[in-house]
């Protein structure tokens, strides 16, 4: 790469917004253009399925930075603008309307698209996807006590929506095609804990359920099942995962494999183009350098830090162990590491106390933790995973010794 005077960032979500901000913090003085399809400046998405849906925080509080900061810091923020073409040879981005913007370095932070229900009736009014503030704004008018909500998909987003809905007084049914909730993201034990909690809170589950059709004329009235049954609904929310947004990258021939593939520095197969956040996959230091695509705030922010460092010639960013969180009712679930491939799990504390941690091991190595209302266990395990240390299962579960002491003793 020659001298970098112009950086274009496509995608004004958390990854894109953080990149712009961190480039300036790192002393980059060239032009920064941040292009986003949404009408507002970058904001935090995690609260959308939590406090924002509950009406406890407004959009202003979700913004990463106040709108005026972008012009103060000479960041050209183009909102409601879609990038339509990348000319790699000419190093230009074309936006809708035909204007072409030249770059020296391009950052793709295009995020992910929520999967649409592959069902007849999925376009009916009252059937919602869950990704943007506008999606939630569309749900909220009818998201009121007594309304019948069907959530399709029992991942974290689906369960967070179910929790807010119960707390708001809606009648809630969750349909999940798998035989347990959270099948992709946690162990059967922890999934069972959340299933019990939601059931106690009044959520009905249809596990192994097969939605076949969304019923209704203009507005949704129910969900028809493959076994012929039908459940009435005023609102249907689909939380069945996302697809990485790779259209632009694909059209210009970048390497794609479940996301835009990059190296550890977030560089794609074109040295002048970087990809970060939900749309990108890179080798993970804490997962045997396996190439992973993570959908998380941590991953978005880390990508921004890495790219800002590379573009300003600073020393390598110290990568963190992946971390995630989910808030449901009064339960704070905090996750560090990646549990995939674990061979056994041990528990510190008991589920009945609504305060416990599940530690996942692969052989002797601690690879992940799910901590429910146990922030110390979460942070302690995160430090261990990050530094490649471990503790024997019988030691980590010894509640007579404080977590801090255990972590200090680990090798």
């Amino acid at each position: 790469m020659g001298e970098i005077k112009r950086v274009i960032i496509i995608g004004a979500g958390q990854a894109g917004g953080e990149t712009a901000q961190r480039l300036r913090q790192a002393g980059f003085t060239g032009d920064i253009t941040l292009i986003g399809e949404e009408p507002c400046p970058p904001y935090q998405r995690p609260p959308l399925s939590k406090a924002y849906l509950a009406g406890k925080v407004d959009m202003d509080r979700l913004l990463l930075r106040p709108a005026n900061v972008y012009s103060e810091e000479r960041i050209a923020l183009l909102t409601s603008v879609k990038a339509v073409w990348i000319d790699r040879a000419g190093k230009k981005v074309r936006i809708e309307g035909g204007r072409e913007l030249p770059y020296d370095a391009l950052v793709l932070a295009t995020g992910a698209r929520p999967r649409k229900l592959p069902l007849v009736g999925a376009d009916l009014e009252g059937v919602h996807l869950f990704r943007t503030a506008a999606d939630i704004d569309a749900i909220r008018p009818r998201f009121v006590a007594g309304a019948k909500l069907i959530v399709i998909g029992a991942g974290y987003i689906g369960l967070e929506v179910a929790a807010v809905a119960r707390q708001t007084g809606l009648d809630v049914t969750v349909i999940e095609t798998a035989v347990r909730p959270l099948a992709r993201v946690t162990s059967p034990e922890v999934a069972g804990f959340f299933l019990d909690e939601h059931t106690r809170q009044g959520v009905r589950f249809l596990l192994g359920g097969q939605p076949a059709v969304i019923k209704g004329k203009e507005r949704v009235t129910g969900v028809g099942l493959a076994d012929g049954g039908e459940l009435p609904a005023d609102i249907v929310v689909a939380g069945i995962g996302v697809t990485p947004e790779t259209t632009l990258a694909q059209h210009c021939g970048l390497t794609i494999e479940n996301g835009i593939v990059t190296d550890a520095q977030c560089r794609t197969s074109d040295p002048n183009i970087f990809a970060i956040g939900d749309c990108a996959a890179r080798p993970m230091a804490h997962f045997d350098q396996r190439v992973c695509r993570l959908e998380s705030v941590h991953n978005a922010v880390e990508g921004a830090k890495i790219v800002a460092g590379v573009l300003t010639g600073q020393s390598a960013h110290n990568v963190e162990a992946p971390w995630f969180w989910s808030d449901q009712y009064d339960l704070k679930l905090q996750i560090a590491g990646l549990f995939q491939g674990y061979d056994h799990v041990v528990f510190r504390g008991v589920m009945a106390d609504r305060s416990f941690a599940a530690f996942y091991y692969k052989g002797e190595k601690l690879i992940a933790v799910d901590a429910v209302n146990r922030p110390g266990e979460y942070l302690g395990a995160k430090m261990l995973i990050q530094s490649g240390r471990t503790l024997p299962p019988d030691v980590i579960t010894d509640e007579t010794r404080p977590m801090k002491e255990l972590v200090a003793s680990a090798r």
Partner: protein, 106 residues
């Protein structure tokens, strides 16, 4: 509304007018005060918004809750006046608050 002074570990001061209801972390992040990363946006999930509350203000900011205390156990360079700034709500009573930032948030 409260005027809050953030002092970086280098001694550089940032004075910010923060509206009531915001947290001490949010006010810092919105004005890009370096040294408060607050990656999780205030969900008490990351412990990257650690601050030292000026001893004169400790009575008014109150004490860390148990959740916060458990997180602080694992933060770097923790002192008796350490807090997570995402857990301190701005109010008129905090007008003039001074917080110092640690050297490292990681």
């Amino acid at each position: 509304m409260a005027k809050i002074t953030y002092i970086e570990h280098t001694g550089k001061e940032h004075v910010i007018e923060a509206p009531n209801g915001q947290t001490v972390m949010e006010a810092a992040v919105k004005h890009a005060v370096p040294g408060i990363d607050a990656d999780c946006g205030g969900a008490c999930a990351c412990a990257t918004c650690h601050v030292y509350v000026d001893p004169e203000w400790l009575a008014k900011t109150g004490e860390a809750g148990s959740m916060e205390q458990s997180m602080l156990d694992f933060a770097n360079d923790v002192e008796d006046n350490s807090r997570l700034s995402c857990q301190i709500k701005v109010s008129d009573a905090l007008d003039g608050l001074v917080v110092r930032l640690p050297k490292s948030q990681h």
